[in-house]
């Protein structure tokens, strides 16, 4: 499934450039704040789901349904964003995928790994993309935002930004925007050990887009997804300007640094391992966020 087809649609579609999005957990404290913010920022929120609140309207406008199936039947939306508490994530995700959702953005933090893996197994069967969990979301700046990010740091452009961290995504996009590098798409991978869309999957989604003029990878300690991506970049001969940043160089071993996935075990997951693989792929690694646009300009 092409991510841009999902996010933008095709010119012949009646909802081209205004794809409908369903918000699961729209009446919750967190869900309602971000549903409002997404609407303000121009995303076409077509329905919300909160069991027991079907028939009501969110902000007097957006219809609320009891189940995902009803919401999908009524709107034909293919995109959903989940805001429910972590322990209810699995049932919400199953409901969405069973109802035919093709792009699922999973915001909750602290989802058990087992629940994520069961969700991903089902998503694979259904041919759906999962972003997250523990992600800030995905956006095409100035077109569609499915997530919790502020829009001020972002500007439409031609650089793809793939990030494990939320606030670093904002920080680095801000620095890129200030330096004149707008963003074609930004994808939050999430800070969990297991990600629905891994760095390498996100790379596959964007690598062949003709408009793409550069790639920024924002990684952090833990796991080996940066190493795998670097190897992929070597293997595919991807030659657009690419810059990386890795957070957590100074973190102690065997300690979880905020994100469930950010932990170094032995040498597995260490910053040195990631940096050396990027170096091997001829990708410069910035020492601090503000250095990213400088290095990118150097590659242009």
């Amino acid at each position: 499934m092409d991510i841009f087809d999902l996010l933008k649609g095709k010119p012949e579609d009646s909802d081209y450039m205004k794809k409908g999005v369903i918000v699961q957990g729209i009446t919750g404290a967190y869900g309602s704040i971000h549903a409002k913010s997404m609407i303000t920022d121009g995303t076409n929120i077509v329905a919300g789901v909160t069991p027991g609140k079907g028939g009501q309207k969110f902000e007097g406008v957006v219809p609320i349904y009891n189940t995902m199936q009803e919401a999908v039947n009524a709107t034909n939306a293919k995109i959903s964003i989940i805001f429910v508490p972590a322990k209810f994530f699995l049932s919400a995700a199953k409901e969405a995928l069973e109802a035919g959702i093709k792009l699922l953005v999973a915001i909750p933090e602290h989802v058990p790994i087992r629940d994520t893996m069961i969700t991903l197994e089902l998503a694979e069967q259904k041919g759906a993309i999962v972003i997250g969990p523990n992600t800030p979301g995905i956006m095409i700046p100035e077109l569609i935002k499915i997530g919790i990010m502020p829009v001020t740091p972002f500007k439409a452009g031609k650089i793809a930004v793939l990030s494990k961290s939320g606030t670093l995504l904002y920080e680095i996009s801000d620095a890129l925007t200030t330096a004149g590098f707008g963003q074609l798409i930004t994808i939050g991978i999430g800070g969990d050990p297991v990600n629905g869309t891994r760095l390498i999957d996100a790379f596959e989604m964007i690598k062949d887009i003709p408009d793409l003029e550069g790639l920024v990878i924002v990684g952090e300690i833990g796991g080996d997804s940066e190493e795998i991506l670097a190897q992929k970049i070597i293997d595919t001969g991807f030659n657009k300007p690419t810059v990386a940043y890795i957070a957590g160089r100074s973190a102690p071993k065997e300690k979880k640094m905020g994100h469930a996935g950010a932990i170094v075990m032995g040498t597995y997951g260490s910053a040195e391992s990631k940096i050396s693989m990027f170096n091997k792929a001829n990708i410069p690694v910035a020492k601090r966020p503000t250095e990213v646009p400088v290095l990118l300009a150097g590659k242009m």
């Binding site: 606030t167 670093l168 891994r198 957070a247 601090r288």
Partner: protein, 368 residues
């Protein structure tokens, strides 16, 4: 959470994995009682949540009362990679023929459990030779797969059966407790060809704690970490003297890195979560005020929609209530930053336009 060896072994025992007799104690009086019950010789093993304890002298053989009286306190007083002893395990000596390696871990990139086994165990995993690696899905390891691994390791007869049995039991334990890692190293072949787990490492998924009340007794959390967790913060205590606070794990890690690059020494990592309110920042300052080694606070908040005046209020309140009397070096990205600077004029909190400036000022201002 990461279980200590004796805790992992409690679970192993519950699942029928063969072990030597052992007893854990937290003081020498209790230890003396255990020494009598077990009988010499035995091994004294420090219980710390880090590896490398053998090299650090944390595992000592003990033949008699005199040695016990000498070595028990020595081992108890060790600090290994900054970790003090949580307990001491006394374990009977084993007559070993050969040491194997066995682990099951949650493979992040393959999204399934993976077995690593080797007939050359007893060393750190990085040095384990002839590793057999097998991806096994999300469920229990089957008899067929377990036997396949045993055969590949060159095990035969009774040892093959013993290994298959242990691997199946370890897999059941791993799946049921939602572990990220279950490791037995060494897994020993005894003189009589039986197989015994000599060590145990077990790491569970913290996010599944709510489904595992039976594991709560193993949760080790300091008072300050517990309070941080209640507020939805992540806190990791470190060795230095500058507390580092920010919103978002990536941003705080990044700030730690830049501080270290500039010669500063972080006292803690404190992530207050995505947003920042007067309450959350005040609570963060409250936590930091309880860490005595802190000489200054470096704050890095990035919020497109965060009002910096709201954060400034928290600092003013903290000084007013004598919660802190420390210099604060803050970079607050957000709205109304000019007004926030005015509010903090004359206080010990200085606001900087970039995180680099804040870090430089912190390093210059706090010399050990």
């Amino acid at each position: 959470m990461r279980l200590l060896e004796f805790q992992a072994k409690e679970l192993f025992r519950e699942y029928g994995i063969n072990l030597l007799d052992s007893k854990s104690s937290i003081n020498i009086e209790e230890g003396r009682k255990h020494a009598k019950e077990l009988g010499y010789p035995f091994v004294i093993k420090i219980q710390v949540p880090v590896g490398g304890r053998g090299k650090a002298g944390g595992i000592q053989m003990c033949q008699n009362d005199d040695e016990f009286e000498l070595k028990y306190p020595q081992v108890m007083d060790l600090v290994i990679k900054g970790e003090k002893a949580r307990a001491i395990l006394l374990e009977k000596m084993a007559d070993i023929k050969k040491e194997l390696y066995l682990s099951l871990f949650l493979n992040r990139s393959k999204r399934c459990y993976t077995i690593i086994a080797s007939s050359n165990g007893g060393v750190e995993i990085e040095s384990v030779k002839n590793q057999i690696i097998k991806e096994v899905g999300l469920g229990n390891v089957t008899e067929e797969i377990a036997r396949e691994v045993a055969k590949e390791m060159g095990l035969e007869g009774k040892t093959q059966d013993g290994f298959v049995d242990i691997l199946k039991k370890l897999s059941k334990l791993t799946v049921e407790k939602e572990a990220e890692l279950a490791e037995i190293n060494p897994l020993a072949i005894m003189q009589d060809d039986s197989i015994i787990a000599l060590d145990g490492k077990f790491v569970t998924d913290d996010n599944s704690n709510f489904r595992h009340e039976e594991l709560q007794k193993y949760q080790e959390i300091s008072e300050i970490e517990e309070r941080a967790e209640k507020s939805g913060f992540s806190l990791v205590e470190l060795d230095g003297n500058i507390a580092v606070v920010g919103n978002g794990a990536g941003l705080v890690m990044s700030t730690l890195d830049m501080l270290s690059d500039n010669g500063g020494k972080p006292a803690c990592f404190l992530d207050v979560g995505g947003g920042a309110t007067t309450e959350s920042v005040y609570e963060a300052l409250t936590l930091i005020s309880k860490i005595s080694k802190v000489k200054g606070i470096l704050v890095n908040l990035y919020g497109g929609i965060v009002k910096t005046t709201v954060v400034a209020e928290a600092f003013l309140k903290a000084y007013e209530n004598n919660l802190i009397d420390l210099p604060v070096f803050a970079r607050l990205k957000g709205t109304e930053s000019k007004k926030a600077k005015e509010m903090l004029q004359g206080s010990r909190t200085k606001i900087y336009d970039s995180v680099e400036e804040a870090i430089n000022a912190a390093v210059m201002g706090i010399k050990n």
